[in-house]
Every structure is written in structure tokens, then in C-alpha cells.
């Protein structure tokens, strides 16, 4: 990216690029995938500089993680943990990660420390065709019956997995999202629909250590 383009992108993200130049930049961006990637990185950096924090949830990141650890078995955690750990679904063995098949963007999940306490499987479905296995499904300990109650705090205790369930197939996810979106009258509907327009393909690289915490199982490592 030339210095001039860099300055244009920067000015655009700051809302300071004149109309005529914005038009030119837009034309370039729509036909130049490389420039779009740079633009995306700039947008991330811009948000970080503005103090809003950068967004770490990254479409397609699961693919890269799985490629890095392909072939290593998943392990269920030995005990419940108070802090939420990131885990993910992945092929049982040696399955090539297919890109570009997903109708719905499915991504890796960042490790989150949240309150109320929640520990359990944070999983990522990311391969349509392959049989997938859970590290550990979660269960909510519930009390009593009757109508719904508002929970003020809760804990999710990981349960031992005795089966090998499938992840949600992307095509099926698309159907769920469409069915849901008509009740989603807020800006959320826009978010859901625009994302359905996006193919989960050609993901720009994001440093792994920034996007994903180390996996919980000792024998699975994210390649640097």
C-alpha cells in the first residue's frame, strides 16, 4: 500500500477524506482484495487507538487453529474450572479443513473472563462435512420447575461427554438465522443478514497468539 493510499485510508476512517477522494478510494477497495485486507487492519488499529479495543473474534480463525493442531486428539477437562476456558470443535483426525463452504460465518472464540462465573465448553463448529467431537458439553444446574426465572448468577459445570455429537452444520445454521431474523427487529437483524452475505473464505491472517488463547488440553498447542 503506497503512502498516499495509506493516508487516504487513515483519513477515511477518521471521517476526514474529501468526497472526491472517497469515491476513488471506494473504487479501489471494491476491486483490490489486498487493499481491503490492509483497510481492515487499519480499521482494527484505529479502534484500538481510539481506546475502543480491538476486535479479536475473527472469522475463519478456527480453520487456521485447526490446521495448526490437526491430528492431535481433543481432551475433555479433568475438572470444572471457575474461569471460562476456550475450547473448540474440531475434526477427530486428519480432516482437511474446508474453506468457503460455510453459508454462515463461524469463527473461533476468544477466551473470556466473565462474571457471573461461567465455566464450560466454548466450542466452535467449523467444518461442515467432518464428524466433530465436543471437548465437553455444558450443563446448567437448574432448580425447581414452573415458569422462567431471571438468574442473577449461575455456574455452568462441564459434564463428561459420552457421545460424539455433530456440530451445527452451516447450512442448517443459515436456516435458523433466517427463521430468527424476522423477529430480530433491531440493528441485530442487519448484523445477522449482512453476515449471511459473507462467504467464509480468504481470511486475512491474524496472529494466532492475539486471536486465541492457548487451548486447555496440554497436548494441543497453537502453532506460533
Amino acid at each position: 500500500m503506497s503512502e498516499q493510499i495509506r493516508e487516504q485510508v487513515s483519513a477515511f476512517l477518521d471521517g476526514e477524506l474529501p468526497d472526491t477522494e472517497t469515491e476513488l478510494l471506494l473504487k479501489r477497495l471494491t476491486r483490490d482484495g489486498e487493499l481491503r485486507e490492509s483497510f481492515g487492519r487499519y480499521a482494527l488499529i484505529g479502534e484500538a487507538l481510539r481506546g475502543a479495543g480491538s476486535q479479536i473474534l475473527t472469522r475463519g480463525f478456527a480453520s487456521r487453529v485447526n490446521l495448526a493442531i490437526d491430528g492431535e486428539p481433543a481432551q475433555a477437562p479433568a475438572h470444572a474450572q471457575l474461569r471460562r476456558e476456550a475450547r473448540w470443535w474440531r475434526p477427530i483426525a486428519g480432516v482437511t479443513v474446508a474453506a468457503g463452504v460455510a453459508a454462515v460465518a463461524i469463527v473461533a472464540l476468544q477466551q473470556r473472563s466473565i462474571s457471573p462465573r461461567l465455566s464450560g465448553a466454548t466450542t466452535t463448529a467449523q467444518n461442515v462435512a467432518a464428524p466433530l467431537r465436543a471437548a465437553a458439553p455444558t450443563q446448567l444446574p437448574l432448580q425447581g420447575g414452573g415458569g422462567p426465572r431471571e438468574a442473577l448468577s449461575y455456574t455452568v459445570v462441564p459434564a463428561a461427554s459420552t457421545e460424539a455429537p455433530s456440530a451445527i452444520a452451516p447450512a442448517r445454521l443459515t436456516n435458523y438465522v433466517f427463521a430468527h431474523s424476522k423477529y430480530s427487529s433491531g440493528l441485530g437483524q442487519r448484523g445477522l443478514l449482512t453476515d449471511l452475505l459473507i462467504d467464509d473464505d480468504e481470511v486475512p491472517p491474524i496472529p494466532a497468539q492475539r486471536a486465541m488463547p492457548p487451548p486447555p488440553a496440554p497436548d494441543t498447542r497453537v502453532a506460533p
Binding site: A43, T58, L142, A151, H180, K182, Y183, L187, L196, I198
Partner: protein, 351 residues
């Protein structure tokens, strides 16, 4: 373009004058500055104006360029949302139908839609209930596309819902930039207009899909006239995150399924979560609408997936497939899905 785009100078001069005048007025006297009033203006503009814009959808460092065309003519809304550089997918809403062209899937998905909300989204009226869980505030004004812009933040008060930041054109109240944020203010996703025209009229040709549908498979899904089986309809979320309540209960055909699923909608007034309760896929044997060749998986679905700016979580409850989907944090869909169980005597708001 049917109209020349709004020129920079056209905006700057009058708005600078207005800004100078307003700056002399005490804050308390400026009812028009109430961020809620601005949200109402935005909703009205999104729903009632003609617009044709190109925007960037930025998520996780990835940028997609999209075009939105929205036309209101004789009270009828026609709308087209198109990916310009990605999948080639397009959504068109017209005549109370949402048609989704998915050329990469060789599929056209059609669903009846009576909803009037624009593709770009709007925010509901903020009543007292919503205010319990979101804080609305005006942030310092700025410029987007050279236009004076109001900045409104809708901040979630806990981690069970997302918030928004909106940059609204001072003149038209159109959102020139929108950010989806988590409860810590971190940006999850943003859209950023690079061009926004608001023409008096938009020709039909700008609303026609550009996808060639030869050889594509057409799939219809939608709310089912048949009720879900009593076994499925008896399930409810037994626990909910603060502020969420059941707003809709009905039946929904998912893709090419043979039997309708029970469809529950929970909302806090702004965010919504759908819960689908189905016969376990190994029982129904229903193939996916988008993948008819694939047989339904033998094993039940289980897991969390990101769906756009929201999440889906699927689990199995007493042999039934339970899937929660919504534009909410992962923990919210997980929480709700895990709490689903048979409920006796639940109140049932119908479609």
C-alpha cells in the same frame, strides 16, 4: 445514480451555521439533542427514505463491501442488499417476501416476511424496561463523509447483551457508521458508509437481483400453519438472563424439514433470541434445505457457533434438538438453550 451525491459544501455550510447557533443555547433547552429523539429520527429515516449506498462491513479485520438499495413507493418497501466483493449473495425483499440468492450454494431461499424493518436495522422505542438494561448517551459530535454527525451510544448494562454506537448524519439522521460493541465497549463489528445517496426515486433496475438463477434450487421455509407437536410445544426456557421474556411462541419449518419445530422468541426489548425445539435429527431424518444430498447427521448437533454478529448454541434436551440463536453474546444463547425443559402451564403468546 439517478441523483448527484450530496456535495460536501452543501452539508458543511448550513450545518456549521446551525452548530454555531446551537452552541449558544443551554444544553437543557435542547430537547432535539436528546439521544432518544435522534434514534427515533434514525428509525424513521431508515424506514421511510429512499437510499442507495455502499458500505464496508468490517469484522475482525475483514472488510466486505456491500450495496444497499432501499425504496419506499406508495407505502411499499422494496430493498436489496448485495455483497459486492465476496460471495455474490444478494437479499431482496419485495411483496412481503425475503428472497436470498446464494449462488455459491446454487440455492435461492424464500421466506414470507411481513416485517417492515429495513435491512440496515433500526432500534425500537426505548421504554422503561429497555432502559433498565441499556444506557443511552450522546457522545461528542464528529464528521463522517465530511458531514456533521451525531454520535449516540446504546450501552448494555451487563454482559448478556450487545450495545451499539451510531454516527447519525446531522441532516438526514441516517446512520453513516454503526458499531456493535460488547459490554466492555469492544467493537465486534462495524459498518461504514463510503457513499450514501438519497435520491427522489429509484428505478426498478436498481432493485432487481443481479444473480442468474438458472439451475438454482428454490427452497421455501417459513412459519408453519401446523402447530409443532405437543411434545415440542411443551418446552420453555426455565431460566433467563435478566430482562429477557417470552414474546412469541409458534411453529416454524426449518429448511426442508417434514415436521415443524417449536419456535420460541425471547427478548429484552432490544435484543432477541430464538429457540428452536425439534425432533432429534436422527429421528426426523430431514435433510438440510441447503444440502439435500446430505443425510441428516446420526448424532445430534451440539456446540456453539458464531452467526454474523450473534451466536447459535445447539444442545440436546431429553432427546430433542434445542438451538438458541440471537444477536447476543455467546453466553446468552448458551444460558437459554441449557435452561430449556418441559414446562407445565406456561403462558403462550402466539404468533
Amino acid at each position: 445514480m439517478t441523483q448527484p451525491r450530496l456535495a460536501l459544501a452543501y452539508w458543511l455550510v448550513p450545518c456549521a451555521l446551525v452548530g454555531a447557533l446551537l452552541s449558544t443555547v443551554p444544553q437543557s433547552a435542547r430537547g432535539a439533542d436528546d439521544p432518544r429523539v435522534w434514534l427515533q429520527r434514525m428509525n424513521k429515516a431508515l424506514a421511510t427514505r429512499n437510499y442507495d449506498g455502499t458500505f464496508f462491513h468490517i469484522s475482525g479485520g475483514r472488510v466486505e463491501t456491500m450495496r444497499i438499495v432501499h425504496r419506499v413507493r406508495s407505502g411499499r418497501v422494496t430493498e436489496r442488499l448485495q455483497s459486492l466483493d465476496g460471495s455474490g449473495r444478494e437479499f431482496v425483499r419485495a411483496n412481503d417476501e425475503l428472497t436470498c440468492y446464494l449462488p455459491d450454494q446454487h440455492t435461492v431461499l424464500v421466506e414470507p416476511r411481513q416485517d417492515r424493518g429495513p435491512f440496515l436495522g433500526s432500534l425500537p422505542q426505548f421504554d422503561a424496561t429497555v432502559s433498565d438494561f441499556y444506557r443511552i448517551e450522546a457522545l461528542p459530535d464528529t464528521h463522517i463523509l465530511g458531514r456533521p454527525t451525531r454520535v449516540i451510544a446504546v450501552n448494555p448494562k451487563d454482559q448478556f447483551r450487545f450495545g451499539y454506537r451510531l454516527w447519525l448524519d446531522e441532516k438526514t439522521a441516517m446512520p453513516l457508521k454503526t458499531q456493535l460493541c460488547d459490554s466492555r465497549g469492544q467493537v465486534i463489528e462495524q459498518i461504514f458508509f463510503a457513499r450514501l445517496d438519497m435520491p427522489e426515486s429509484i428505478p426498478d433496475s436498481d432493485l432487481a437481483p443481479t444473480v442468474h438463477t438458472d439451475g438454482m434450487r428454490w427452497v421455501r421455509q417459513g412459519a408453519s400453519a401446523d402447530n409443532a407437536s405437543a411434545a415440542l410445544a411443551a418446552y420453555r426456557a426455565s431460566q433467563l438472563p435478566p430482562g429477557f421474556r417470552l414474546t412469541v411462541q409458534g411453529a416454524q419449518t426449518i429448511g426442508g424439514a417434514t415436521a415443524p419445530a417449536s419456535h420460541l422468541v425471547y427478548s429484552d426489548g432490544l435484543a432477541t433470541v430464538s429457540v428452536f425445539i425439534e425432533q432429534s435429527s436422527s429421528d426426523s431424518g430431514a435433510p438440510s434445505a441447503l444440502d439435500p444430498q446430505a443425510q441428516a447427521p446420526e448424532a445430534p448437533m451440539q456446540g456453539l457457533a458464531r452467526v454474523g454478529s450473534g451466536y447459535a448454541f445447539s444442545t440436546v434436551v431429553q432427546g430433542h434438538q434445542v438451538t438458541a440463536v440471537g444477536e447476543v453474546p455467546a453466553q446468552t444463547v448458551e444460558f437459554i438453550a441449557h435452561s430449556v425443559k418441559i414446562s407445565s402451564g406456561a403462558e403462550i403468546p402466539h404468533h
